[in-house]
Each structure stands twice: as C-alpha cells, then as structure tokens.
Symmetry: C2
Subunit: 127 residues, 2 copies
DNA sequence: GCTTGCCTTGACGTGCACGTGAAGGTTTAG
DNA sequence: CTAAACCTTCACGTGCACGTCAAGGCAAGC
C-alpha cells in the first residue's frame, strides 16, 4: 500500500509518516516511480508508535520497540532495551504522581481553609 | 527598591519582572528618571505568582489572585475568582492523576507480562 | 571625569516535541 | 483531460515563559 493508504489505516497523516521516516523509525520500499510502498508489517510499526505515544512516551522512546519488532520479535516490548524504557517511564510516572498528589493536597487545603459560601448572596453554591 | 533589587529578593530576573509588567501582572511607580520603583507589596505579588506557578498554574491563572491582593485582601485566594481557579486546577490535577494511574497500570502489566530475569546472564536484576 | 554597572525600550530568539505548510513538480485514477 | 495523490526540501507553527540583543541613558565610587 502507498503512504495515503497507510495513513488512513493507521488514522494519521502522510506528513507524520514521512516525519517518522526522517527520524529513522519507518522505512519504505520504493516503487520504480519513487512512491513509498508499505505492507502490514509497517502498519504494525506505526500502531506500536501510536500505542506508546498514548502512554506518554516520546518518539525517541519508541526506538527500542521498533528495533525489537524489526529484529523479528513478536512484540516490541520483549527486548531488554524496551523493558528499560518501560521502567524509566514508570519511574517518571511515579514521580509525577507524587508531585501531583502534593499539589492536590495543597489545593484541597487552600479550598478548605475558607468557607466557599462565605458570601452566598453574591456567589451561590450552585456552580 | 529598583528592579534589580526586587529580582534578587524574589529570586528571579529583571527580565521576568518586566515581562510580568507587560502582562499587566505587576505595576511600578517610576522615579523621575524613569526607573521602576517597587515596595514590599510588589514583592508580595511576585511571591504570589511564584507560589502559584509552583503548583502548575500558568501566568494567566495568577491574574485573579493578583487582582484579589490588589483589591486589599490579605490573601490572594480569598476572592471567588481565585477559588474558581483553584477548583479548575484541582479538576485538572485529578484528571491527570487518573490518566497517570491508567498509564501506570499499563506499564506494570507489561513489565509483569514477561519475566524480567528471562535472560539473566545478559541483564541481571540489580538495576 | 571615567569606568562600571545599573536602568530604559522594542523587536525578535529560545527550547522542546511533533509535526504542518508551502512551493514546485510528477504520476495515477477515472 | 483533470483532479487527486504522490514526490522532494526547507522552513515554519504551536504554547509558554521568558532570554537576547541593540542602542543608549543615568548613577556612584575612585
């Protein structure tokens, strides 16, 4: 399939796919006229990138997964480098959760500090 | 005090303070030669901005707090508009926590799916 | 009085990440 | 025949919070 078809199947744009190629994440066979030619395996790669991005990974983070799939593994996360990225991302997420919980406590304390209905005639409690 | 002194006291830069002024967050008296002249109240405003930014608020979000302080209130968060910003930020934080927890579960599941020590001779479990 | 170091304004640049847009051309599909 | 899809490269966009540079005016110590 050509780039437009792959974009449609993956729910992205041809521009993004060319950008992935420029980043070395995606390669394409070329037809004699220079058009990119993709197969199901490439679609799999794009989906892998998308699912990793969906959990907050950067494009750079997806490299080991792509390499793992290219190396013939069934899933992109069965290689050591991929698992290391998982662990790093997990640590990031944990740190972010800690920070957000601290912020949350702060906000709750501030909101509780004063009665929200102190001036009910101006700001009724129906928002 | 002049802008350099205020910047030092607040632990920021003269650039940032001028930027705040351009955004209407900070105003300054001017000496006859055109220098900005600040007092303790202005320092208080800058500290308010900083503490709000520390809990993830944008500069725009700080406007109601600044207005509240300017209106003569003792704390910037005692006005309805400020409290509304608190609530909005709290909702954002809660949404972010939910999302991060989902991501966390995903990552844990993926890491547990395969034995991390499947290839111990290459990747020992001491990281 | 001269150097050093404040201060003024305005326009534009930076960093990050992930693309998007435009120009200018060829190929394919109907 | 024409419109849609494809190709290339380079540069620009997005959002936020400033930073940098230019070109010059004031102040204070020695």
């Amino acid at each position: 399939m050509r780039i437009g078809e792959l974009a449609k199947q993956a729910g992205t744009t041809t521009r993004a796919l060319r950008f992935y190629e420029s980043e070395g994440l995606l390669e394409a066979q070329r037809t004699p006229n220079g058009y990119r030619e993709y197969d199901e395996h490439d679609l799999r790669l794009v989906r892998e990138i998308q699912s990793l991005q969906a959990v907050g990974m950067s494009l750079q983070d997806t490299r080991p997964f792509i390499a793992c799939l290219r190396a013939g593994h069934e899933s992109g996360d069965s290689c050591p480098d991929s698992r290391e990225v998982y662990r790093r991302r997990l640590a990031e997420v944990d740190a972010c959760l800690d920070e957000l919980n601290t912020v949350r406590e702060f906000l709750l304390a501030r909101l509780a500090f004063q009665d929200p209905c102190a001036v009910p005639e101006e700001i009724p409690c129906n928002s």
